[in-house]
């Protein structure tokens, strides 16, 4: 992730569900031109936030070993505009996991109302892309900590979410 379109996780259950919030502020520069006089967060950025929520959920389940990329969005529907001052709550649920990817259902809520919903497909890069490095282990670690995943996260049995040992070791080597 080279840019952040979620502010922090508020729930994170490994392999099942992640919930993150995005506070929209008029201080964000893109809103000044989209549109002049009527600031509204572009739907593509809402989708990016939902994808980041789901993407990190898929990455974490694979202990950050897989190169997870957003492959397609078979269905995304937007019901309401996202405006400065709004807090969006993104929820991502893993519907299906395979060795070569995952399907995640996503929603965005604004003050309890459904703002957007959809399905996203993530692929695990392999074959000719096997040697490509998307993110260094230290970048994953920084991201997950900054987004407070390890503060709110837990496993299916309720035990606190832990940083995978190999990620810690790899991050320490860099």
């Amino acid at each position: 992730m080279r840019w952040y379109w979620i502010d922090r996780f508020i729930e994170f259950e490994s392999g099942r569900l992640a919930r993150a919030i995005k506070n929209i502020s008029l201080a964000e520069e893109y809103l000044h031109d989209h549109f002049p006089g009527y600031a509204v967060m572009p739907n593509s950025l809402v989708m990016e936030g939902m994808a980041q929520t789901g993407g990190l959920l898929v990455c974490e389940y694979g202990r950050f070993r897989e190169k997870v990329v957003l492959a397609k969005a078979p269905r995304v529907v937007f019901h309401l505009p996202a405006l400065p001052g709004d807090t969006l709550v993104y929820t991502a649920r893993i519907e299906y996991l395979r060795e070569d990817g995952a399907m995640v259902s996503v929603t965005s809520h604004r003050g309890g109302e459904l703002q957007a919903e959809g399905e996203l497909v993530f692929a695990h890069l392999n074959g000719e892309h096997q040697d490509k490095v998307l993110f260094e282990p230290s970048a994953y670690l920084r991201m997950m900590r900054m987004l407070r995943a390890y503060e709110v996260g837990h496993g299916p049995d309720g035990t606190p979410l832990r940083v995978p040992e190999e990620l810690l070791r790899a991050a320490a080597r860099k």
Binding site: A71, G101, V121
Partner: protein, 130 residues
């Protein structure tokens, strides 16, 4: 055991959801790539939906044997060799590869698959009542 009609209906639903096409477009003879506009990444999505709809597992390379299509033993100058075609027919008895075999360019392989092939593939996985 589902009937052939039930299998077709579920395959049709999977393709409508994965490819955003109309139900009427998903005819047995329609090719997934040429007629329904599937791209390579859509095959992953289609596999997700078929696995879920029929409660089956589709291992990597079973629906699309990329390992054959990228194997120098079976491909020369961008074309599948006779040995490659024999291997594909062995691995994909459910697919009608006659049209592809007439001009077996690797890049055209995915366009050889039809909705009917996909239904037959599912039949081999779940068994089908007449």
């Amino acid at each position: 055991m589902p009937t052939k009609e039930e299998i077709f209906e579920k395959v049709q639903n999977a393709l409508v959801d994965a490819l955003g096409v109309d139900e009427e477009e998903v005819k047995p003879e329609a090719t997934l790539v040429g007629d329904l506009g599937a791209e390579s990444i859509d095959f992953l999505d289609i596999q997700f939906r078929l696995e879920k709809a029929f409660n089956i597992k589709i291992p990597r390379d079973e629906l699309l044997p990329q390992d054959v299509l990228t194997n120098a033993q079976y491909v020369q100058d961008g074309r599948v060799t006779e040995a490659g075609l024999a291997e594909l027919r062995r691995r994909m008895p459910w697919a009608n590869l006659d049209r592809f075999a007439a001009n077996p360019k690797v890049q055209d392989f995915t366009n050889a698959l039809t909705v009917e092939d996909l239904c037959r593939f599912v039949e081999t996985k779940v068994g089908a009542a007449a």
